[in-house]
Structures are given as structure tokens and as C-alpha cells.
């Protein structure tokens, strides 16, 4: 079970990264990036690193995403 | 006096603490930040002096924050190369003093930005000092980030039209190179289980199993630090960033920050030479060639620049090329020359940027044709500029000469006469563009009234320029002191090669 879970999480990470890379809508990309951060957080919790997972959830997935959203709000949402 | 152990902790923490207190000082008195920053750097300079004296008297020494023995805690290690903190303090001090007047002329530089500007400068200097004295790989990365982040912001702080873009370009390349360095640190940690540089070296040397990770880590470190040092072809961020920054910042960035990439390379070499895992001839050759290309290319581009600051920025690429080439030669003479050039080029480039900054401050112009005849209007500043120009070309008896002499000797010692030629003739190319500058400043008629009417800058700007200029001369005449100072460090670095 653990290996399957591993693989699924990692596959999700790669897929999310690809979506972030290809999405033309920056807002969508940012949200997907946030979910990517949460998946990482899950992975790390599972790897025996709860401290890091907590930091990633609060900072990586939370505040970083908010900052991206603010920046997108102040500039433009579409990637040309 | 210098044997007091805590100087090493103080030299790192003082600028950082000073930076944290600068906005608070500004709350109490709006005009205090420059003087507060100056006081901080004065104390830091005292500590740095003690450290340099100690390393001169005793050789390398360590400080253990928290009292934890080396591989378990972070080790601060002060060796001969760390003596660069002396130069960092000196130039930092001068740049802050210079800024106290200079920043008044910047567009968008409202007074409420001022405390943060000085805090950034202090953080930048503190980051560099920490980078230079730490003996721990991850700590190296942390200080690298402090100095890089503050560096990016300092580029943008002047409010030039392209400043923010230049800063972003710098930030992007700098951040990627930081990630590479962190990746490499991860590899090294994974192979050895430790982060202490000396310990990594020893355990890497005793490594069993595949060496591929170590090789890749070396490549990552080299690419990362070479980007920070702005060597061709990873130099693209430098010209705009250094030209768009306020002049005292350019002095710090061009004189010091890029050098920390070189210090990083020296640390990398220390690990890999010491571990003796593989022959570094390939890397050395790559660095020699890249250095040579940087020398020629930087000088060549500089010739065609009209903007004085852009010209100086390209000349930095050229000079870093000398240093990297000297490192790649891997002979005693070559590495000594390269190491001393770290110090001397810092002095020279700071002189040049401060002098140019003074001229821009007074006239508002920055291209060669606009600045015609400024030499007569601002004689002292122009003399400083000329001294800097002569030094950077490497004409004896100025500071630039001995380093180039040593690196050339190193080229012949390493049986690479081609690079000796590249070096000497690269210096000629450099001379060509400084001749253009001197020609325009002294031997042409002014075309702007501002230039003719320009007065000498106030003492707070003139003093740093002149002090640094005279140091360019003094370091040339007393060139033996830095050379003999750095020699034990270089010999230790290269000892694993000679067997």
C-alpha cells in the first residue's frame, strides 16, 4: 500500500508541475501550484518530516500562493 | 588583543544586528541611518582588523558558535582567503559614507526609503562577511542567500528606468544558481553525511562507491558560483545590474559581491583538491578558457560602450576573467595572483565606481560624450578616476600590476603561454577603453554647461574616493604584503596537487 501511495503522490506532483508549466492562465497555475505544495506537505509528513510538512503547508502552499495571487492581481492573469 | 576569540562571531553578527536596528534608529531620528550604518561598519572593521591580524600571526583558526564541536555544529573558520572581510569592511564603510550624500540625488529616493537602503547595504556586507568566514557548506548557502537577496534589491533601489528589470534578471539567474548550489550541497551531504567543509573533504576522500554524484555536485557548484561571479557565458545579468544600481552600490556589487562567487569557487576547490577523488584538469581547462574568453569579451564590449558605468561593468567581467583564469591555472603563482586580485580589483573597481558616481552626482550625465572636459572641472575626482584606470590596466606600480604579473607567471609555470599572452593583451584592450575615457575627460572641450560649472563633490564623497584611490597606489607599492599574506593559504590549497 505504501509504495502505491508513494507512486501516486509522486505522479500527482509531476502532473501538477506539468500543469503549472503549461497553463496559460496564471491564476490557475498558481492554484495548482498551491495544491502541488500541499501534496509535497503530505509526502513529507509521510516521510517522517512533520516539521517541514507544517512549514511547507503554511509557507509553500499558503503564503507563497497568496503572494502569487496578489502579484497576478496587480499585473495580468493571462500568459501570452 | 586579537587573540580574543569572539571577534569572529562579532564580525558576522554586528552588521546583521545593525541592519535590524537601522529602521528602529530611523524612527528615533530620520537622518540617523547613514551614521548608524557607519558606526556599525566601524565596529565591524575593528573586528575584521583583529581577525586579519590574528590569521597573519597564527594562521587559520576556528570559532564554534554554541560550543559544538566541528561536524555537529556550525564552524566559523577564518583562513587567509577570509581576509577578504577586511576589504569588505573598508569598501562597505566608504560606500556608506559616500551614500550619505549621493542618495539625495536619486530619482524616487524619498527619505522614507533611506533607512531600508542602509539596512540593505549592511545586510549585503554582513552576508558577504558570513560567506567568507563560514566553514560549513549549508551556512555558506544561507549567507549566500543573504548577500544575493540584498544584492538584487540594491540594484533596484536607485529607481533608474531599467533598474527593476536589471534587478529581476540578476535575481532570476542568481536564484537559479543558488538552487544549483543547494542541490550540490544536497549531493555532498548525501554522500558524506556531514556539512562541515573540512569533514566533507576528508570523508569524500575516503569515499567508497560511485563517484558520479561527487562529479555532478562539482559541476553544479562550479556552474552556480561561476554564475555568481559573472563569467562568460553566464555573465548576461551583470552589465545592466551594475550599471543601473546607484554608484556606491555598484562599487559594492562590482568590487565585492561578484568576488564572493570566486571565494565560493576557492572553497569548492578546497574540497575537491583535498578529497583527491579525481583529476580536475578538465575543469581547470574549462575555467581557463572561460576566463580567457571573459577577459577578451568583457574588454571588447567595454570598448564600444558610451555609458561610463556600463563600461566599468563590462570591465568587471574582464577582471573576473583574470581571477578565474588564475584559479584554473592551478599553479602557485597563478592562484596567488588570482587571490590577490580579488582584493586589489575590489579596491580599484570601488575607486572607479565612486569617482564616476561623484561625477554623475555633480553633472547628471553619464555618457562619454556628455562628460567631455569634466577632468578640468573636477580635478581631484578625475585624478582618482585616472589612478583607478591605470591600476585596472595593470600598469606598475599600481595595485593591478602585481596580480597580473603573478597570473602571467603562473601561465608560464603551468606551460600555458597562450594564456599569458591573452592576459597581457587583454590588459591592452582594457587600456583602450580607459584611454577613451581619459581622452574625453581631459582632452576634449565640454559640450554641456553643467560640466563646465561642476564643482568638486563634498567631502563625504570625495574622501572615500581619494582614500580608495591612494590605496590603489599603496597596494601597488606594498604589493608584497598581500602576496606573502595569502601565500600559505594558496600553498595549503594546492598542497594535495604537488603530492
Amino acid at each position: 500500500m505504501s509504495l502505491t501511495f508513494d507512486i501516486l503522490l509522486l505522479l500527482y506532483l509531476v502532473a501538477a508541475a506539468l500543469v503549472v508549466a503549461q497553463a496559460k492562465d496564471l491564476l490557475a497555475a498558481s492554484i495548482v501550484f498551491s495544491s502541488y505544495g500541499l501534496a509535497l506537505c503530505l509526502l513529507w509528513q509521510y516521510r517522517g518530516a512533520p516539521d517541514v510538512a507544517m512549514a511547507e503547508a503554511a509557507v509553500g502552499a499558503g503564503i507563497t500562493t497568496v503572494l502569487f495571487l496578489v502579484a497576478i492581481g496587480r499585473t495580468t492573469r493571462r500568459e501570452k | 588583543m586579537y587573540a580574543w576569540p569572539h571577534w569572529l562571531a562579532l564580525v558576522v553578527m554586528t552588521p546583521l544586528a545593525g541592519a535590524a536596528l537601522t529602521p528602529i534608529a530611523a524612527l528615533l531620528d530620520r537622518r540617523s541611518p547613514p551614521w548608524w550604518a557607519l558606526a556599525t561598519m566601524t565596529f565591524t572593521s575593528l573586528a575584521a582588523t583583529m581577525l586579519v591580524l590574528r590569521v597573519f600571526a597564527e594562521g587559520p583558526f576556528s570559532y564554534l558558535p554554541g560550543g559544538w564541536a566541528a561536524p555537529y555544529g556550525v564552524e566559523l573558520r577564518f583562513d587567509e582567503f577570509s581576509a577578504v572581510v577586511g576589504v569588505i569592511c573598508l569598501i562597505g564603510w566608504m560606500a556608506i559614507l559616500f551614500s550619505s550624500r549621493y542618495t539625495r540625488s536619486l530619482p524616487e529616493f524619498a527619505s522614507d526609503r533611506s533607512p531600508y537602503y542602509y539596512a540593505l547595504l549592511l545586510l549585503n556586507l554582513g552576508g558577504m562577511i558570513g560567506f567568507a568566514v563560514t566553514g560549513d557548506l549549508f551556512n555558506l548557502f544561507v549567507f549566500l542567500e543573504i548577500l544575493s537577496l540584498s544584492g538584487y534589491a540594491l540594484v533596484a533601489v536607485g529607481g533608474e528606468r531599467i533598474a527593476e528589470m536589471a534587478a529581476f534578471k540578476y535575481l532570476l539567474m542568481g536564484a537559479v544558481s543558488s538552487v544549483l548550489v543547494l542541490f550540490a550541497i544536497g549531493f555532498l551531504y548525501g554522500m558524506t553525511g556531514t556539512l562541515n567543509i573540512a569533514d566533507v573533504t576528508a570523508r569524500l576522500g575516503a569515499l567508497e562507491g560511485p563517484t558520479a554524484p561527487a562529479a555532478v555536485a562539482l559541476a553544479l557548484l562550479a556552474v552556480g558560483f561561476v554564475t555568481k561571479a559573472a563569467i562568460f557565458p553566464l555573465h548576461v545579468w551583470l552589465p545592466d545590474a551594475h550599471a543601473a544600481a546607484p554608484s556606491p552600490v555598484s562599487a559594492v556589487l562590482s568590487g565585492l559581491v561578484v568576488k564572493l562567487g570566486v571565494i565560493g569557487m576557492i572553497r569548492t576547490y578546497r574540497i575537491y583538491y583535498g578529497a583527491g577523488l579525481f583529476d580536475l584538469t578538465v575543469l581547470n581547462h574549462v575555467l581557463m578558457w572561460l576566463g580567457a574568453i571573459s577577459i577578451v569579451m568583457g574588454a571588447f564590449f567595454a570598448i564600444f560602450q558610451e555609458d561610463v558605468k556600463l563600461m566599468l561593468a563590462y570591465s568587471t567581467i574582464s577582471n573576473i576573467g583574470y581571477i578565474i583564469m588564475g584559479l584554473g591555472l592551478a599553479t602557485t603563482y597563478g592562484v596567488i595572483g588570482a587571490s590577490v586580485h580579488i582584493f586589489n580589483h575590489a579596491l580599484i573597481k570601488a575607486t572607479l565606481f565612486l569617482a564616476v558616481g561623484a561625477i554623475i552626482y555633480r553633472t547628471g550625465y553619464r555618457t562619454l560624450s556628455d562628460l567631455r572636459g569634466v577632468g578640468r572641472a573636477m580635478p581631484l575626482t578625475s585624478v582618482a578616476l585616472s589612478i583607478g584606470a591605470i591600476s585596472i590596466v595593470g600598469i606598475p606600480p599600481t595595485a593591478g600590476f602585481l596580480c597580473k604579473w603573478y597570473i602571467t607567471l603562473g601561465a608560464f609555470e603551468a606551460n600555458q603561454p597562450l594564456f599569458g599572452f591573452v592576459l597581457v593583451f587583454g590588459a591592452l584592450l582594457i587600456f583602450v577603453y580607459y584611454i577613451r575615457m581619459v581622452n574625453a575627460f581631459y582632452f576634449r572641450e565640454p559640450i554641456h554647461a553643467e560640466v563646465t560649472e561642476a564643482r568638486e563633490v563634498p567631502v563625504s564623497m570625495l574622501l572615500p574616493t581619494l582614500v580608495l584611490a591612494s590605496l590603489c597606489l599603496i597596494m601597488g607599492v606594498l604589493g608584497r604584503i598581500p602576496l606573502t599574506f595569502i601565500e600559505p593559504g594558496v600553498v595549503r590549497l594546492l598542497a594535495p596537487l604537488g603530492g
Partner: protein, 117 residues
């Protein structure tokens, strides 16, 4: 063999994520996108470092009285904690610069900016 590969999958995944991030940084013109890519690169390296410190059936390195090993290595975790802070700092600065660039030039596409320069 396959089991071994599955055991090492974390490293490989890190490299894949790193490469995706690098690709975004190099190939995309949008500055915000570039920075999303950089964040992916950074997290990939964090994942790599965390994976280094992991042990088979490891527990978090918290030494409450009854805890029994094996424990995951605490050192990589502290490194990554610091790394996350560094990443968010860099991001904050970069986004500020991007906002300023947009204010000045009206675009954040690198190719258009190059033309304007």
C-alpha cells in the same frame, strides 16, 4: 529490481521536477511563470534533501520517552526548513519587482520587455 527502482523513486522524481522547473524558467517568457518554475525547482531540491534523510519505516525525529527508532535524520529537515524560508523570501522580492516592472512597462513578458529596453 523494480522494487529497488521504486525505493529510489524519490530521487528520480526530484530530478524530474527539477527539470520541469528548469524548463519553465528557461523557456517561458512570462516573468510570473518563470518564477513558478523556479519555485518548482526549489521544492524539487527540498524533496531531494528530505529523501536523503529518510529511513525505511522511519519515524519523525522526536524523542518522546517511548519513541523507538529508526528515526529519520533531523539534519536534512532543518536544512529544508531554512530552504523554505529562503524560497519564500526570494519569491516575495521577485514578485515585488514584477509588479514594479508591470507598472513601468505595462507588460511582464520577457520578449516584449527586451524590445522596450
Amino acid at each position: 529490481m523494480i522494487v529497488m527502482l521504486w525505493h529510489n523513486i524519490d530521487y528520480v522524481a526530484s530530478v524530474v521536477l527539477f527539470s520541469i522547473g528548469l524548463y519553465v524558467v528557461i523557456a517561458k517568457e512570462n516573468l510570473i511563470k518563470k518564477f513558478l518554475g523556479l519555485n518548482i525547482m526549489e521544492t524539487a531540491v527540498f524533496a531531494f534533501i528530505i529523501a536523503l534523510g529518510m529511513v525505511e519505516d522511519g519515524r519523525p525525529p522526536i524523542m518522546t520517552g517511548d519513541a523507538q527508532g529508526p528515526f529519520a535524520s533531523p539534519l536534512p529537515q532543518t536544512l529544508v526548513l531554512t530552504g523554505i524560508v529562503v524560497a519564500v523570501s526570494t519569491t516575495a522580492l521577485a514578485l515585488t519587482l514584477i509588479i514594479r516592472i508591470f507598472r513601468r512597462f505595462g507588460t511582464i513578458e520577457a520578449n516584449e520587455l527586451r524590445e522596450m529596453e
